[in-house]
């Protein structure tokens, strides 16, 4: 199967300069010739490709358009120009606590998250025992999660999401600052191993991170985004050096 292909993507946001102003202020601004919105070109003619089984990195400083690019690939945002060719299932991951409700029990949360991730009840049921086992929270199945520590919530979130994403057998995986999980050192190790296994599943993986260690460790190619453009492209060490050189 062909991998992910991103061709000439451009995106401009129309930022409301003073979104809380009322009608009167808008009228006065118009009379004075001041605009109420300004344009922010976040992405400008971005192209790259990622083969199945490849891990591709995107780095850059805050606000350079990394998450916007992933959301465009995921179909959440609409690009102004360009084409995204993403064959098969695309999964966008920007966190592991998505959908968790503090007033529901762990059991109810697993079914809820499964439902949000597009699984039927019987499919969730199939993964239920594995999720509980991996999270290590068997004794808290019927406890409402507002009574959980943040580490326990992280365990539950990661275990649920990773199982459900695995079930979907995605062809393209978009990881937006989500490598690893919270919790204690042991769980972090187990979670990282699970993520590595997931990344080796044959999907085209796009990884966005501010942490250069995973970028260096897992990615075969990296692009550096700066001012909406690709400022550098190549092997991780070269691009990271370019990024850290300019950032310093």
């Amino acid at each position: 199967m062909a991998g992910l292909e991103v061709k000439n993507i451009s995106k401009t946001f129309h930022i409301q300069a003073r979104p809380t102003e009322g009608v009167l202020s808008h009228v006065i601004s118009a009379i004075e010739g001041r605009g109420n919105t300004w344009e922010l070109r976040v992405l400008n003619d971005i192209s790259f490709s990622c083969k199945p089984g490849e891990v591709f990195g995107i780095i850059g400083s805050n606000g350079c358009g990394k998450s916007t690019l992933l959301r465009i690939i995921a179909g959440i945002y609409r690009q102004d120009k360009g084409i995204v060719h993403a064959p098969g299932r695309v999964v966008y991951l920007s966190g592991f606590n998505i959908g968790l409700q503090s007033k529901l029990t762990m059991r109810e949360n697993i079914y809820l998250v499964g439902s949000i991730m597009g699984l039927r009840k019987r499919e969730v049921h199939r993964y239920f025992d594995d999720i509980v086992r991996f999270s290590g929270l068997k004794d808290f199945l019927d406890t409402k999660i507002y009574q959980f520590s943040s580490g326990m919530v992280a365990r539950l979130g990661f275990s649920s999401i990773i199982s459900f994403v695995n079930h979907k057998k995605p062809d393209v995986v978009l990881l937006d600052e989500v490598l690893g999980a919270g919790g204690d050192a042991e769980f972090k190790r187990e979670a990282l191993a699970k993520m590595e296994e997931f990344m080796r599943s044959g999907a085209a993986v796009i990884m966005v991170s501010h942490d250069m260690k995973p970028i260096q460790k897992y990615c075969s190619r990296v692009i550096l985004l700066r001012d909406g453009k690709i400022a550098a492209e190549g092997r991780p060490e070269e691009v990271i050096e370019e990024y850290e050189g300019t950032a310093a």
Partner: protein, 251 residues
């Protein structure tokens, strides 16, 4: 479509459950609001205008209050349907935005089911044959397309302006007094003419005819409310679909 309905139902069920979580009275809160209004109006009307009521006035009133309440609640929650789920919308790529609008409307339907149970209980108490309640789904079904269309329209517009919340708050108050919720209107009056353009008027009128009179309402009423529903669906869903991809960037 099945996936959207399945997830909408699941989200509505969860939200309904969470609203009752930690509450001593639980689902009773859904009933206490309309019930309080019912007793206040019944008391005020009885004291101010004794002997001027419609037959089975308490049931007439309760159908009006619960019908209007369903309409008001559906639209109020639809306005916030997208904004309230901004986190989901920007983090998950496999959920259709329609899901959130349908979930909020379904949640209003769940509450309405309890209100209808209350109407049935009062029908028994006031000696109105309760079997008429079996015909209620008919009036609900002909009104539902209007709720759906209006809900989608409000969900899309609500993302662009927070004014819609305030506009709706005032408009729904006005509509409450225009709609014959607690009074009767005669054909030929100006108020009746105004109400011919009011979808809630058809909903409560059809419901009352089916439940209290146990007769079939005039067919033209079904035609008008279904026509309004078709128009609302056409406009509402078309606008929502046109703006759908843009909404995630606005929330």
């Amino acid at each position: 479509m099945r996936e959207i309905l399945r997830l909408s139902f699941s989200l509505a069920k969860t939200s309904f459950k969470l609203r009752n979580e930690g509450s001593y009275l639980g689902i009773m809160w859904y009933l206490l609001g309309p019930l309080a209004l019912f007793f206040i109006i019944l008391f005020v009307k009885g004291a101010a205008f004794p002997g001027t009521s419609a037959p089975s006035y308490p049931i007439y009133l309760l159908i009006g209050i619960t019908g209007f309440n369903f309409f008001r609640q559906s639209i109020t929650t639809s306005i916030q349907a997208i904004n309230m789920n901004a986190g989901f919308i920007r983090s998950i790529n496999n959920i259709s935005l329609e899901t959130f609008v349908l979930a909020t409307i379904l949640e209003s339907v769940f509450s309405h089911i309890f209100e209808i149970a209350l109407v049935a209980a009062f029908m028994i108490y006031f000696g109105v044959p309760v079997l008429g309640i079996l015909l209620y789904p008919l009036s609900f079904l002909v009104f539902f397309p209007f709720i759906l269309g209006a809900g989608f329209f409000c969900a899309a517009v609500g993302v662009y302006t927070t004014d819609l919340d305030n506009i709706w708050m005032i408009a729904s108050q006005l509509l409450f007094f225009v709609t014959p919720v607690f009074y009767t209107i005669e054909p030929g009056t100006m108020l009746h003419t105004v109400n011919l353009f009011n979808p809630v008027f058809y909903f409560v009128s059809i419901s009352r005819t089916l439940l209290i009179d146990r007769t079939f309402p005039p067919l033209w009423m079904f035609g008008v409310i279904l026509g309004m529903g078709a128009l609302a669906c056409f406009v509402g869903i078309k606008i929502f679909e046109a703006k759908k991809r843009e909404l995630a960037e606005k929330v």
